[in-house]
Structures are given as structure tokens and as C-alpha cells.
């Protein structure tokens, strides 16, 4: 509704202008009333007095818009130029800081990338798809070339392989790949390798085997037949509605270099997956191999590995699904006990099990069981039960800040606005993180889309079978979470839709026994479930949110119950050490708490305050360390209802609780609560006093600063209020260019002076320097 507001304000302005023009020739002391028809305060006609005034004022306004910032003319109020000057200073400062920061960020990222490499777990691959001698030799060729290529590139990647996972060897595998040979560098008898980059930059791995080995298996849906016939497609054939993407795919000749920029880790997988769980296992492999190639032109078997440029940190994804193909005998040698059904289970990391645990519905469980028991025959699964996501829209990339700058500050200023976009960062998780942390969420959504396209789940892929990996789901999670963060709820809902209730069998690891042997649980990150459950409430359907949250709550409780009974999370009989059990209980308790939190938030949104308060109370049980904050929050709920007495009671409870703690934080909390209480009693002077107290303890407290300023406004001290807010924005624009602060500031500007437009534009400049493309420009009310 702020847009509406802005509109009505401009409407007002317009009407004023009209009135002014009308009254131009009119004489003193007459009145005119125009009812704009709103039920709120609306501006009416206005009147004046002086003869040729109208023209003059209009002119005056126009002139001032440009002149104030530039000129130091004594005519201009010192006050205002001062303020504006300050803002400009901020801009400068911020620019300076920004530079420093990017440096720091870069450092940090390098650090991160290292971390991320070492962190991820390796997943063993089966090599069943590499069947023929032909293919093997082709592969060898390519690898040799790749090896040759490496020194040239200068960012050699030493490949270190670690014994890690047990590969489940199936007879089928043996039959299929009896003669696979291995290049020397991968000669270690272990199926998985981890790359440690020498520099900070790790290159993607050399291509290990060729995708041609892909042997499509039976696919039940007739619509896929064409795909099966051509297991490998050229990238350029992919439908890419986005101009940005088509850049990468449009020209087959340039594909190599361009795409290598793009796909250091992911590829456009044209292999639309396969509904047969056994067959589908090959797809991730396919992708991993492609990603290693880094060029996406997988159809060319002799194409050398070419890394367009050094890239920081190969994303975990490629590593996770990467494997070195091995002669089967070797693998068997290493995992002599692979016949042992428990071998794989033992190997499954405790962490994985703990985190991925989820209890499928009865129906899904049955499918998963049949997948597990009928490994070698095709399990037919209804298409309805498969998750077939795809991007529903493309390229929401855009920069509202820049648009506004173009509109109000001119092209020159707009050019200065530089934000990262999906093209300017590495096309990997690292780049994604960079975009997120620099608050360029729109670009990040875009990048997620590209990476998903590489996973074969791009635009218009919805409804086509897909194979899921840990990474593809994580990417979906990030994309959807960012959409929610950007308030693009409808878009998020659209893209969430193919995921159903996140319980389809192909979202479980058990569905891909060959890709994730022995791994159990759900691929869907828990946070994604939360997101999925919370989403409907933002779209006006909180009841649905509550339903979803309740079913999540039931499963969390069930898992905790299983743990208490000495079972594994999913209720299976697995031995878990006491330590691990403890950790698991802790994790699931906090997850259950998170669900309760969401419920409480949802109930609050529904304005069902009684239940919301109850829910927040139960959250305290799961997060006892948050008790003071939660009690304060409950107090504020009562304040919002208007129940001052109960609010006071809760605030007193907070004081009791924090009494023992005696930290700065709790001291602030107590003062803040007192201030709010006075606010509820309409005592703005006292409220202001307490907010100021907080500032004495913590002068950089944004909330106290802002709230004190608001109090001043209600005390009729507009100028003081403005001074406080502006001072705050100057002090640390990094943090205080917050939507709510800016909204307050622009509102006051509008109230304060006829030159609000310039001041708002000054704010826009400050924002342009500091904020990413996710900035919500509505709060500037530049309409």
C-alpha cells in the first residue's frame, strides 16, 4: 500500500499544482475546496494571496530541485545544504568503504572456497555406464589431452584421491564395465577424489570419462523416447528463452570458451532424466563428467578440458558426484566387504544421516522399498509421483535502484551504479554466495536459475522428468528462499508447485541406490521444508501454512521419539553411539523449535494472538537462551493489541530473567521494553528518554536511534527527529540504510520541506552506493 500512498501523494501534488494554476489570476482571500474523495486526510484546495505568486513558487520549486545540492549560495538555508552535504559525504565514504570491503570480501571468499572444498562429502559413483571398449578408449584420449592441457593453463590441479566411500558393486556393474581402464593420475584404488587447489583457485577436475558411456535405460514415459535416442545433445539445442543465457548457448562455435566461463562445474545437462531409478543414476554422473569437461560440448569425445579462467573453488557439487572410474576388480579389492549389506550403511556419514533423516509417507515409503528391493528391474512409478521442477520464469534480474537513478538523477549518475550481476561473478556456488552476501539477490536468483538449467531443470523443464541431486535441491532452496526474501511470493509458489509436498519418492536418496549407495533420507533440505510451509501465509493462506507446519511438527516429534527409543531417526534399527545420538537429539529438537517458531509467526500473522502467544511460549522450551527476547516479543504483541497491563507483566518477567544475566544486551532489552511501555501509555517523552538511554550504552543501536527519532516526531520536534535519523544514516550507512529507517526518513522529508524530492534523491544516491539489487525502493517513495 505504500505504492498507493505514494500515488496519492503525487496525486495531491498534482492537484495542488492544478489549483495553483487555477488560482493564478485570482485575487486575495478566496477559498476553494476540492474533495479528493478519500476518507483519510486529503489535501484540499489551497489558497493564497500574493499576486503573481503561483508562477513564482512553481519556478522556485523547480529551481531548487537542481540548485540546492550544487550551489553554496547563501540564499540557501544553511541547514539544508548542510544536511545534503552530509549525505553526499556518506556517499563518498561509502564508496571508499566499499572498495575496501570488496577486497576483504574477496579474501573471505577465497577462504570460503577452500573451506567448501574440504567440507563436502564424497559420494561414490558406480561406473556401470562405461561399458564398451570404444568408450573407454575415447575416454582415455580425452583424458590424455586433458593432461596435456593442464600445464598450459597454468592452474594445475593436483588431484588427490582419498579412500572414502564404499562403492556398492553390483553384478550389473561388473558385467557392464569389465574393461574400463583408468588414466594414471586416477590410478588409486578409490572411487572418489577430492581436489585441493594449490592456489586459492581450484580448477574443476579433468574429465574423467566420457558421457557417451551413458546408456539410457528403459524409460516408461513415451514422451521421452526421442531423448533416449539421442542420449547426448548439443547445448545449442537447448531452449533458452533468456537472452542472457542464450548468449552462452547461441553460437555453437563459441561454445567452448563461453560455456567454459559459464560452466566450470555445472553443465547444461540435456539429459532429461529418466524415471527408472536404476537408469537415472547415470544422469548425475553424466553431469559430473560434463562439468569436469567444463565446456558442455560433451558430444565431442576428443574435446580437451579447457578451463576458460582460473576459478575459485570447484563447487562441492561437482566433487560430490564425481568419481573416478575404476576397474571393478580394484574397487572390489578395496572394499572386500562390499557384499556385506552393512558396509555401505556404516560408511554413510553420521552427519548425513542425522541431517537428511525424514520420514516419508506410507505411499512414498512403499515406492522406496520397491526401489531398494528390485534394483535390477524397472520400477514403474506414476508420473504424478515424480518431482519435475523447472524454472517458471526467467531473468527477474533488474535493478530498481538503477531504474530510479535513470529517472531522477540522469544517465550519468546511473552509470556509476555498479552492482554485481549474474554475469559478473563466477558461475558457481562461490559466485552465488558472493551475490547473496552483497545483497544482489535478484542476480543470485538469476544465477541459481542458470545453475539449475545446467542441471536440466531450467526454463520450461517443468513437467519433464528430472533427476535430483543434493546440489540441485540446494540450488532450488536458495533460489526459492531468495524469491521469498525479495517478497516475490507468487513466483516462489509457482516454482515450488512441482515439488508437491516435498515427499515424492524421487526426492529421497534411496531412490538413487546407484548414485547414493547406502545413503538414506531426504534430499530436501530441512530449511526448504520450512520455506515451503511458510510460503502460503505470505500469499494469504495461513491455514495452509499451519497445516504444513503441523505435519512437519509431527515428523520432527516422531524422529525425536525414535531417537529416544534407541532407534535411528527414521525408525530403523541402527546402532548409534551415545554421542551421535545426543547430537541428533539436539539437532532435531532445534528443528522442532524452528517449526514451532514458524507456527508462532504464522499465528501472529493471522492475528490470532492468544494462540501465537502460546506458541511463542513453547518456543522458549526449545530455545531457552532466547527467553528474554521471546518474552519481550510477547510483551510487544500485547502492546500491539493494546493490552498494556499484560505487556507490562511480560516486560517485568523479562527483567526478572535478565536480572541474572547482567549483560549489556539484556540491559538494552530492559530499557527498550520500558520505552515501549511508555509508548503504549502515550508518553512519548519518557519513551524517548529510554531510547536515548539505550543509545548511551550502545550508540550504534539502529533500533533505538530510529525509535528515538520517531518519538521526537510525535513530540512535535520534526527537525530534531530528522537530525537524529540523518545522523544515524551518516554514522554507519552500511547498516542503517534499512528499509524501515529510510521509509521514516522519506516520510519526514515529505513533511518537512518542499525539497523532499532532492533529499530523497540524495538518499537514493547513498543507497545506490551501498545496496545491492535486492533493495526495496518503495521505501524511498520516489514513486
Amino acid at each position: 500500500s505504500s505504492a498507493k500512498d505514494a500515488k496519492s501523494t503525487s496525486g495531491e501534488d498534482d492537484s495542488r499544482d492544478i489549483v495553483q494554476q487555477k488560482t493564478q489570476e485570482e485575487i486575495l482571500f478566496h477559498e476553494e475546496t476540492i474533495d479528493l474523495g478519500g476518507d483519510e486526510f486529503e489535501s484540499e484546495g489551497n489558497e493564497t494571496v500574493s499576486e503573481d505568486s503561483n508562477n513564482f513558487v512553481d519556478k522556485l520549486n523547480e529551481q531548487m530541485m537542481e540548485s540546492v545540492i550544487i550551489s553554496d549560495s547563501p540564499n540557501n538555508s544553511e541547514d539544508d545544504t548542510g544536511e545534503l552535504g552530509c549525505l553526499q559525504e556518506i556517499v563518498d565514504q561509502m564508496e571508499a568503504k566499499d572498495n575496501q570491503k570488496t577486497q576483504a570480501e574477496a579474501d573471505k571468499e577465497e577462504f570460503l572456497s577452500n573451506e567448501s572444498e574440504t567440507e563436502h562429502e564424497e559420494t561414490p559413483k558406480d561406473i556401470s555406464e562405461i561399458g564398451t571398449d570404444d568408450q573407454a578408449s575415447l575416454k582415455e584420449d580425452s583424458i590424455q589431452e586433458a593432461v596435456k592441457e593442464e600445464p598450459k593453463l597454468g592452474n594445475n590441479v593436483p588431484v588427490e584421491t582419498k579412500p572414502n566411500n564404499v562403492d556398492e558393486n553390483t553384478p550389473e556393474d561388473q558385467m557392464l564395465s569389465p574393461s574400463t581402464t583408468k588414466p594414471s593420475s586416477e590410478a588409486e584404488p578409490i572411487p572418489v577424489c577430492t581436489i585441493f587447489s594449490q592456489a586459492n583457485n581450484a580448477n574443476s577436475q579433468p574429465q574423467l570419462f566420457l558421457p557417451d558411456g551413458f546408456e539410457p535405460q528403459m524409460v516408461k514415459s513415451p514422451s521421452f523416447s526421442s531423448i533416449i535416442e539421442t542420449p547426448v545433445k548439443y547445448n545449442p539445442q537447448v531452449v533458452q528463452p533468456s537472452p542472457s543465457l542464450s548468449k552462452f548457448f547461441g553460437d555453437p562455435v563459441n561454445t567452448n570458451t563461453l560455456a567454459s566461463d559459464f560452466f566450470d562445474s555445472f553443465t547444461t545437462s540435456n539429459f532429461i532424466s529418466v524415471s527408472n531409478p536404476n537408469a537415472s543414476s547415470s544422469v548425475p554422473e553424466q553431469m559430473s563428467s560434463l562439468s569436469n569437461g567444463g565446456d558442455g560440448s560433451s558430444s565431442n569425445p576428443t574435446f580437451p578440458v579447457q578451463n576458460g579462467r582460473p576459478e575459485a573453488g570447484g563447487p562441492p557439487s561437482s566433487l560430490e558426484i564425481t568419481q573416478s572410474p575404476k576397474p571393478f576388480s580394484q574397487i572390489q579389492a578395496v572394499f572386500a566387504g562390499s557384499d556385506d549389506p552393512f558396509a555401505t550403511a556404516l560408511n554413510m556419514s553420521e552427519l548425513d544421516r542425522r541431517n537428511d533423516a525424514w520420514i516419508p509417507s506410507e505411499e512414498t515409503r512403499n515406492v522406496l522399498i520397491s526401489v531398494a528391493t528390485q534394483q535390477y528391474s524397472t520400477v514403474f512409478i506414476d508420473k504424478e509421483n515424480l518431482t519435475m521442477p523447472g524454472l517458471k520464469f526467467d531473468n527477474i534480474q533488474g535493478d530498481a535502484v538503477k531504474d530510479l537513478m535513470l529517472r531522477f538523477l540522469g544517465e550519468q549518475a546511473a552509470v556509476k551504479r555498479q552492482v554485481l550481476n549474474a554475469n559478473s561473478v563466477e558461475q558457481s556456488f562461490v559466485g552465488l554466495k558472493q551475490l547473496i552476501s552483497s545483497k544482489n539477490w535478484r542476480a543470485a536468483v538469476d544465477l541459481c536459475g542458470r545453475l539449475l538449467t545446467a542441471h536440466g531443470q531450467g526454463y520450461k523443464k517443468s513437467g519433464l522428468p528430472a533427476s535430483h541431486t543434493t546440489d540441485s535441491l540446494q540450488l532450488w532452496f536458495v533460489r526459492l528462499a531468495l524469491l521469498v526474501k525479495l517478497d516475490l511470493f507468487q513466483n516462489a509458489e509457482m516454482e515450488f508447485e512441482p515439488f508437491g509436498n516435498l515427499d515424492q519418492p524421487d526426492l529421497y536418496y534411496e531412490y538413487y541406490p546407484n548414485v547414493y549407495p547406502g545413503r538414506k533420507g531426504s534430499m530436501v533440505p530441512f530449511s526448504m521444508r520450512i520455506l515451503h510451509a511458510e510460503l502460503p501465509q505470505y500469499l494469504g493462506n495461513p491455514q495452509e501454512s499451519l497445516d504444513r507446519l503441523h505435519s512437519m511438527k509431527i515428523i520432527c516429534a516422531k524422529i525425536l521419539e525414535n531417537l529416544e527409543q534407541g532407534l535411528a531417526e527414521d525408525g530403523s534399527m541402527t546402532n548409534i553411539t551415545q554421542e551421535n545420538r545426543q547430537a541428533s537429539v539436539q539437532l532435531w529438537r532445534s528443528r522442532l523449535g524452528r517449526v514451532m517458531y514458524s507456527m508462532a509467526n504464522c499465528l501472529l500473522m493471522m492475528k490470532d494472538y492468544v494462540l501465537a502467544v502460546d506458541a511463542y511460549h513453547s518456543v522458549i522450551k526449545y530455545y531457552p537462551q532466547q527467553e528474554p527476547q521471546l518474552l519481550s516479543g510477547i510483551g510487544r504483541i500485547f502492546l500491539q493489541i493494546g493490552d498494556i497491563k499484560t505487556a507490562e507483566k511480560y516486560f517485568q518477567d523479562v527483567e526478572k530473567v535478565t536480572h541474572k544475566l547482567d549483560g549489556l544486551q539484556s540491559q538494552i532489552m530492559v530499557l527498550m521494553n520500558r520505552a515501549f511501555l511508555h509508548l503504549g501509555q502515550n508518553n512519548f517523552a519518557e519513551a524517548h528518554r529510554f531510547f536515548t538511554e539505550v543509545l548511551k550504552i550502545d550508540s550504534s543501536n539502529a533500533v533505538a536511534n530510529n525509535n528515538a527519532a520517531v518519538c521526537l516526531l510525535y513530540l512535535g520536534k520534526l527537525k530534531d527527529s530528522l537530525r537524529q535519523l540523518e545522523g544515524m544514516v551518516q554514522q554507519d550507512p552500511q547498516h542503517y540504510l534499512h528499509e524501515s529507517v529510510l521509509f521514516n526518513l522519506t516520510t519526514m522529508y515529505e513533511l518537512e520541506s518542499s525539497r523532499s524530492m532532492q533529499k530523497k534523491q540524495a538518499l537514493l544516491e547513498a543507497v545506490a552506493v551501498k545496496e545491492g539489487d535486492s533493495f526495496n525502493t518503495q521505501c524511498l517513495k520516489l514513486g
Binding site: E51, F56, V57, S77, Y714, L751
Partner: protein, 391 residues
């Protein structure tokens, strides 16, 4: 010269949309860090939706007015402003400092906050006028109108129930017809001078009075609550209670509520009026009657007979038995003269021959002056049980 007016509705608390992730998810702790860095979240409990940041109301409803012909070069020497509020029925002067005389330097401003409790529904017009003198001695004047609607916040319906005694029960249905929840701070009935009031909206349990509305202390939009009050005529009026005819004033409801951050609202109803039940010329009311009696055992009731007419009556009492009720004593006895507004008490004995809830009927009063008979049936009910059960 700019003249700006705004309506100071209370600020609201900023709510954020928490998006969290776990350590092992792709963004790592990025999302959580973003939320920590967001100044509008609650530190230490970022997932809590309700933040602490105050934001000014969206519909601030302010408006600006420009005095024309003024450059910032001019020094205003005199500012005279006043604000009036005009409603359909009256014109109020709001500004306390209406005669404020001040010199307004360039780019300075005078801020004033005016409080006013709106008492009427409907269109209001706020009239703001400023007159001033510029440095050159030119007299200037402008004024501006702000029109706004005051909507009804509550819908109040009342219902009266007359008890057999002189008590009156008042049921008040209060509905919140605004769009925000309302905390009902006080709902009370201020009785007129004739009545004492007892509120029946709490239940005493172990010395603690508990609201009949439970823990829900607020009214959601469109929610309705029923409040119940019992009114008893004061002693000095009780005497005349039988005589009260026509419309009487009961009292008025005083409702105080609070909404967002303690924004206060108050509503007083006009005097609630009740049509006193018509009793005819002669009113017969019961003073005492047992609730349960034994079958075929006599019991006593006390009646009060009041002359509500303007003339003196000479009354004869007749008692007619019904199927179940049998009167004891002499029927057709003289009660003597009864002056206007005076009453007499009468003890009667009767018994019931049928079990169950029986209606006391069959009393007849005849005014011998006018030869007019008044019939009183169903004046009360008693529960008749067999004597074994009662013991």
C-alpha cells in the same frame, strides 16, 4: 512558507520475514548472517517476526500547503495560525496556541501537536488558517481544509430483560467493526440516578474474579461480545417502581478500548432508555415464593399489590382454583381502599395437587368503584415434588 498537517496515528512495529538455513545448506550461514545484520531483527532471536523497529504509519495522511509569494529571503515577522474542526453540527476551535505570535526565521518551523478526541461520526473538516506579515509589511493569509471521515468503530446493541422483581437485565452486544483488533480496556454501565448496577461479566472462583471472556482480552475485527448488567432500582425509587411508566432512562455505556501500541479509543453511548413494562392500573407482583414445594402441602406466598392508576381503588380479591393450584382461605375478601401509588402486602396460602412445574394462577382483583376486574394468571412457577422425594 509551507504548512503541513499530518495525522499522528501510532507508529507500527516493523515485521520481517525470516528466512533461515542450516549450517550444511548451500548458503552456509549466509542467510542467518544476513538476518543478524538486518537492523530490524531482534538480536539473538532473529526468527522472531515481530521486530522492535518503529515505522511511521503508511497512511500518514498529511498534506502540505504552500504559502505563495515568499522566498526564503523573507523573514516572516508574524505567524498567526489556528486550526478549527468543523463537524456537521458544530465548529470547534482546536488550537490552544491559536494566538501564538512568533517570528519565523528562514527555514525555521513551528511544530505543534494538537490532540483532539473526535466525538462525532461522519465528515469532519479540519480548517487550518495561517495569517502572517512579511518583512515588507504585507499581510498574508491562507487557509486550507482537510476533510476526513470518522467511521463508527463499534456497533452497540442493547436488549432489556425485565425480571419478575423490579430488576432489569441489560445485555449489550458490542461488535468491533474496525479492521484492527481492539483491546477492551473498560466496558461499564453508568447507571442513571435511579439504579444501582451489578456487572455480571466476571465469575468469582476462589476469590479471584475471572472474566467470562476468558483469556482473550481483545476483540478481533467483526467479533462481538455480550456484556450483561443487572440493574436494581435504588431504595427510594423502588417504592415508586411500580408506578414508573413509559420510558425510563437506564444509564449509558462507557467503552474504552485500545488498539495498536496503546492508541486509545472511547465511546459513550447516549442514555439507554427502556420502555417500562406496562402494568395496567393495578400491579400485582410477588415478593416471596418458595421454589420447591411438597405435593399437597400448603405453602405461603407474599404478593404486593400496587395501585398504578390515578385514582383510589377499592379492591376485592378472588381466588379461583385451577387444575393443579388450590387456594386456601376465603375468596372474595375485601382488601380495602388503595390510594394511587400506594401498595399493600398480602400473604396467601395455597397447595398443589399435581407434581411438576406448576404455574400460580387464578387471582382476580375487582375494583368495586369501576366494577372492573383484573386477572392475574401465571404470576409465578413453583416446582411441586412428592413429599417422599423432598425428604
Amino acid at each position: 512558507l509551507i504548512f503541513a498537517v499530518m495525522r499522528l496515528t501510532k507508529p507500527t512495529l516493523f515485521t520481517n520475514i525470516p528466512v533461515t538455513c542450516e549450517e550444511r545448506d548451500l548458503p552456509g550461514n549466509l542467510f542467518n548472517q544476513l538476518m543478524k545484520d538486518d537492523p530490524s531483527t531482534v538480536k539473538g532471536a532473529e526468527t522472531l517476526m515481530l521486530g522492535e523497529m518503529l515505522t511511521l504509519p503508511q497512511n500518514f495522511g498529511f498534506s502540505k500547503l504552500y504559502g505563495k509569494g515568499l522566498d526564503y529571503l523573507y523573514v516572516l515577522q508574524l505567524v498567526f495560525s489556528f486550526a478549527d474542526l468543523q463537524t456537521s453540527s458544530q465548529r470547534l476551535n482546536l488550537s490552544a496556541s491559536s494566538a501564538a505570535v512568533a517570528e519565523l526565521k528562514p527555514d525555521c518551523c513551528i511544530d505543534d501537536v494538537i490532540h483532539h478526541e473526535v466525538k462525532e461520526i461522519g465528515t469532519h473538516i479540519l480548517v487550518c488558517a495561517v495569517s502572517y506579515t512579511t518583512q515588507t509589511g504585507e499581510k498574508m493569509y491562507f487557509r486550507k481544509f482537510f476533510k476526513f471521515q470518522v467511521l463508527k468503530p463499534l456497533d452497540v446493541k442493547t436488549k432489556f430483560y425485565n425480571a419478575e422483581t423490579d430488576e432489569v437485565f441489560l445485555e449489550a452486544q458490542i461488535q468491533n467493526i474496525t479492521t484492527s483488533p481492539m483491546f477492551m480496556e473498560k466496558v461499564s454501565l453508568e447507571p442513571s440516578m435511579m439504579y444501582n448496577v451489578a456487572e455480571l461479566n466476571t465469575v468469582d472462583t476462589a476469590g479471584e474474579s475471572e472474566s467470562t471472556f476468558g483469556t482473550r482480552t481483545y476483540l478481533q475485527p467483526m467479533d462481538t461480545r455480550q456484556y450483561l448488567y443487572c440493574l436494581k432500582p435504588k431504595q427510594e425509587f423502588a417504592e415508586k417502581a411500580g408506578v414508573i411508566k413509559g420510558v425510563t432512562v437506564i444509564g449509558k455505556l462507557d467503552i474504552v478500548w485500545k488498539t495498536n501500541l496503546g492508541e486509545r479509543g472511547r465511546l459513550q453511548t447516549s442514555q439507554l432508555q427502556r420502555m417500562a413494562p406496562g402494568y395496567g392500573d393495578v400491579r400485582l407482583s410477588l415478593e416471596t415464593i418458595p421454589d420447591t414445594v411438597n405435593l399437597e402441602e400448603p405453602f405461603d406466598i407474599t404478593c404486593k399489590i400496587t395501585n398504578c392508576s390515578e385514582r383510589t381503588m377499592d379492591l376485592v380479591l378472588e381466588m379461583c382454583n385451577t387444575n393443579s393450584i388450590h387456594w386456601c382461605g376465603v375468596s372474595g375478601r375485601q382488601l380495602g381502599k388503595l390510594h394511587p401509588s400506594s401498595s399493600l402486602h398480602l400473604a396467601l396460602t395455597l397447595l398443589s395437587s399435581v407434581q411438576g412445574l406448576q404455574s400460580v394462577s387464578g387471582l382476580r382483583l375487582t375494583d368495586t368503584f369501576l366494577k372492573r376486574t383484573y386477572e392475574y394468571d401465571d404470576i409465578a412457577q413453583v416446582c411441586v415434588v412428592s413429599s417422599e422425594i423432598k425428604q
